[in-house]
Symmetry: C2
Subunit: 143 residues, 2 copies
């Protein structure tokens, strides 16, 4: 499990990828490392900038392909709060988000201790894929 990983390095990225049935290639390791070593919510273009800052070049197509592969294999999660771009989140534990609408900043809310009461029954023939709470915040007078 992810919890066993003390410190994220390029070395244990390969194992992490293999553990999710993903063939660890150079580019995939770099992209995974960008996300996991920072533990931040990053957009595709931020990831591309990080990965291409150092030596190896990674194309836009590969960045998107890789992120979609990671999503499919449930290695990461996407957060949809900004109409302009998707954020990718290395934290797949159940959690929610504060979203600062004026700065665009995303902050995790641990789901431990958060409960939702009174949700209606699901429509027929569907199952829940996930429940997201997004608390939209903006700078303002503190009480």
């Amino acid at each position: 499990m992810d919890m066993m990983v003390q410190q994220y390095s390029r070395d244990n990225m390969a194992d992490l990828l293999r553990g999710h049935d993903i063939n660890p290639t150079h580019q995939r390791i770099e992209i995974a490392f960008a996300l996991f070593s920072r533990q931040q919510h990053l957009s595709a273009d931020q990831i591309m900038a990080i990965v291409n800052d150092r030596h190896s070049e990674t194309s836009k197509a590969t960045v998107y392909n890789t992120l979609n592969l990671f999503l499919e294999k449930k290695l990461i999660r996407e957060v949809i709060v900004d109409p302009n771009k998707v954020f990718y989140d290395p934290n797949t534990q159940l959690h929610h988000h504060f979203y600062n609408v004026s700065s665009g900043e995303l902050t995790d809310i641990d789901a431990n201790g958060v409960t939702i009461c009174g949700l209606p029954k699901l429509p027929e023939g569907v199952i829940t894929e996930g429940v997201d709470i997004i608390v939209r915040i903006r700078p303002g007078a503190a009480a």
Copy 2:
């Protein structure tokens, strides 16, 4: 208040708009009518298709300008769940959503009776703009 409106017609759209400090023009009335008469979640391109289906032509720029104006004046609300497009929601009452990730269908969840417990305190210097719950669902074996 909106509750007074028994049936949405182009006629009462003008009053609705004026009530929100919006000058009622032809295009604005058509766009408001498209949303309110259907009480559905529509994307900008769906709205443009509806409005241009009948006689009058409305440009893309006007559709977007108008929707953004409606948002600003709090006549409608935006729902961000699909990475590709924003949905506009004529229901500004507090409510949440089911989002069918395979069909893209959005369904309202009345916020009455729904409570969230255990959310952490807000960070310093910010205020809440809104709290959204999105229940992502997809077709699947019913229990």
